[in-house]
């Protein structure tokens, strides 16, 4: 499959601060690629360089075969962008905004059809300042679609939205993928990346820590299958005494134990039963992208802010 975006050894510094440190990745045509990372990871700088809004210090980049900084004017006719914190003129209605962009791009479009595509037709005549957060982001997406772009750059399109608005926008983005467009999506919502992206790159401190499909990343860095048993100190002690390693208690009064196959499960249950302790529900689990992110980055994300994770009892990183 042909590459829509090629990034090879990209570097960018602001003064002495290295914002992007020698990163490389490829995005194939028709793919949703997600750059995932906390605030300050270098996602927006990377995207703005790819959009031709910032000049790089080093490295080779191509978007649709063009150098974004040198051929930005031509490139912009073939890409669509929702910048981070998208805003528009307060007193303009979505229909007028689409018409404005169509006139700037010199294309004839049906504003109504574009609004239907992003599920915003009910607010077609509402001025921007009266739109909800979700509707504003949808308008951003509508404007990004005016020139029928081959590649879309969506920089944190769902930040600050309520869960319902976020899900609505996810549906719209999935619809774009089905329409065959290439999408580069930056986000700090792990769930969003896991749900939408074909490939993910986890960024932190300007570097890509890993990349691949979400399944590949989980398989490479995850701790495999585990059994989660409802039970307290007694269950935990019984497992430790039986010599099974890697068990840890979480905050919900559950004990988690990594397992390789069915024999491990049988031996685990047997050891708890023989200890005569009370135990409740039992289920199998696998690491999610979030678990892998925590391992790689060393914290969880809350609206993009990285929070250090508490040490888990009995668990080795």
């Amino acid at each position: 499959m042909a590459s829509a975006i090629i990034v090879d050894g990209l570097e960018k510094s602001y003064g002495t601060k290295k914002a992007v440190n020698c990163i490389s990745f490829n995005v194939n045509q028709g793919e949703i690629f997600s750059l995932l990372g906390p605030n300050g990871a270098g996602k927006t700088t990377t995207v703005e360089i790819l959009e031709g809004l910032r000049e790089r210090d080093a490295g080779r980049i191509e978007v649709l075969g063009m150098d974004p900084w040198r051929q930005g004017y031509e490139l912009h006719k073939r890409i669509g962008v929702i910048p981070q914190g998208f805003s528009f003129f307060d007193k303009q209605k979505p229909v007028e905004a689409i018409q404005y962009y169509a006139e700037l791009f010199g294309v004839k479009v049906s504003a109504q059809k574009i609004l239907e595509k992003v599920i915003l037709e009910e607010a077609a005549d509402t001025v921007f300042e009266d739109l909800s957060g979700g509707q504003r982001q949808k308008l951003g997406l509508a404007l990004a679609l005016v020139n029928d772009p081959e590649v879309l750059f969506l920089d944190e399109p769902t930040t600050g939205l309520d869960p319902q608005a976020r899900r609505n926008l996810w549906n719209v983005i999935q619809g774009l993928k089905e329409g065959g467009r290439t999408v580069l999506l930056t986000t700090h919502y792990l769930e969003e990346a896991e749900l939408l992206a074909d490939k993910v790159a986890i960024m932190n401190h300007g570097e890509i820590m890993t990349s691949g499909t979400p399944e590949e990343i989980v398989s490479k860095y995850g701790s495999g299958k585990k059994i989660v048993i409802k039970g307290g100190e007694g269950v935990y002690s019984a497992i430790v005494r039986s010599g099974i390693s890697g068990a840890f208690r979480n905050d919900n009064g559950e004990v988690s134990v990594p397992v390789r196959d069915r024999r491990d499960i049988i031996s685990l249950v047997t050891s708890i039963e023989s200890a005569g302790v009370t135990w409740g529900d039992i289920r199998t689990e696998e690491d999610s992208l979030e678990d892998v992110f925590v391992k790689l980055v060393g914290g969880t994300m809350d609206e993009g802010e990285l929070r250090s994770k508490g040490v888990r009892e009995g668990n080795s990183p």
Binding site: E48, E51, G52, L53, R54, E55, G72, Y73, H76, K77, I79, V81, P83, Q84, G85, F86, S87, F88, F89, D90, K91, Q92, E96, Y100, Y101, E103, L104, F105, G106, V127
Partner: protein, 364 residues
């Protein structure tokens, strides 16, 4: 330059402006309020006469009555006779009045007998009308002295105006307020727009479309030029229809209505570009705009200001816009108007180039 894109951007900006009634108020209604206010204060009928309170202690004499009549006849004094029971000085103080005259007892008999007699004139040196009162009373006293000795004035006075027609305050106010509109609307708007676009990254957004910096700038120049023409029509209409302003119109006014807004759009952009926040842009914008508004001949002719302020005014770009408009509309002095137009265009070009160079769509 793609004119379709210029027009598209112009339409959006115009719609934004017209839907934001505050902007329209400051652009058009505010100068109209000013012309009605200042026009009424300084150009109303009889408003040029100064009230003077006269205490006639020689109440029953024909001479004192004739003296009061003469004061009234000057046309610059509006005599109001007060009661003779109290002290005039105290009366003026207690009523917050500035000008008064006391005609002493025995004024008529002393005058007829050729005996020296003084009328007392009270004025407040801090009040600009004191000179008018002293001059007028002095003139009336001279007339009475000549009449007493049966003499006629040897040196007379012919009054003439510099212009072919006499100028009134309103004649200067109309070009001044046109200049005011040319300054305030583009300047305040562009300071705000530029700082806001920067803050909300709208320049970045626009840079992702085929719209160019030049096209964006031209659409703003067109909009504020149209606003300046609208302000010009309103000012001339209210000035002439309501206050009888005597103004001359010429095609040379048109370049002032284009170069002026271009100058202040660029200056506003420059302030918005170099400041770090919307708030600081507003403060710097005010620091630049307000002195210019008051010292460039907007509300009063420059010639009425102290010499050093007249020198300061020559460093303010608005001075040349208003001076040029005055040259055309008040003095019909086209050659001087060309000079002021050339200076306006030169300043506009320098600031426009500076703003355009510092104005970045993209970031390094």
């Amino acid at each position: 330059m793609n004119l379709k894109r210029v027009y598209a951007d112009f339409k959006v900006y115009r719609r934004e402006y017209l839907r934001n009634r505050l902007g329209l108020f400051f652009a058009l209604a505010f100068p109209v309020i000013f012309i009605l206010l200042f026009g009424a204060i300084f150009s109303g009928a009889g408003s040029s006469s100064v009230a003077v309170y006269v205490q006639n202690l020689d109440a029953n004499s024909n001479v004192s009555a004739a003296f009061i009549q003469s004061l009234n006849s000057t046309g610059v004094l509006n005599v109001k006779v007060v009661d003779i029971s109290g002290n005039l000085s105290n009366y003026l103080l207690s009523h917050s009045l500035s000008n008064g005259i006391v005609i002493p007892r025995g004024f008529a008999s002393d005058y007829e007998n050729g005996k020296s007699v003084n009328v007392t004139v009270y004025t407040d040196p801090a009040d600009s009308t004191s000179g008018i009162v002293l001059g007028a009373v002095s003139g009336v006293i001279n007339g009475f002295n000549l009449k007493r000795v049966g003499a006629s004035p040897v040196v007379g006075l012919n009054s003439a105006t510099v212009n072919a027609h006499s100028t009134k305050y309103i004649d200067f106010l109309v070009p001044g307020l046109i200049g005011f509109s040319i300054l305030t609307s583009p300047m305040f708007s562009m300071v705000n727009v530029t700082a806001e676009y920067k803050k909300f990254k709208r320049f970045k957004q626009l840079s992702l479309t085929p719209l160019t910096k030049g096209e964006w700038l031209v659409s703003k120049v067109i909009w504020y030029t149209i606003l300046s023409f609208a302000a010009f029509v309103l000012m001339v209409f209210f000035g002439t229809a309501v206050f009888g302003a005597n103004l001359r119109l010429s095609l040379i006014i048109i370049p002032f209505l284009i170069a002026g807004p271009t100058l202040f759009i660029s200056l506003g952009m420059l302030v918005g570009i170099v400041t770090k926040s919307i708030e600081s842009a507003g403060v710097i914008g005010n620091i630049i705009t307000f002195p210019m508004m008051f010292l460039s001949g907007t509300f009063f002719p420059i010639s009425t200001m102290p010499h050093f302020l007249q020198l300061v005014a020559r460093f303010l770009p608005l001075y040349y816009v208003i001076a040029g408009l005055n040259d055309v509309m008040v003095f019909s002095n086209i050659s001087t108007a060309y000079y002021n137009l050339a200076v306006t265009v030169a300043i506009a070009a320098v600031i426009f180039v500076l703003a355009a160079r510092l104005f970045k769509w993209k970031e390094k």
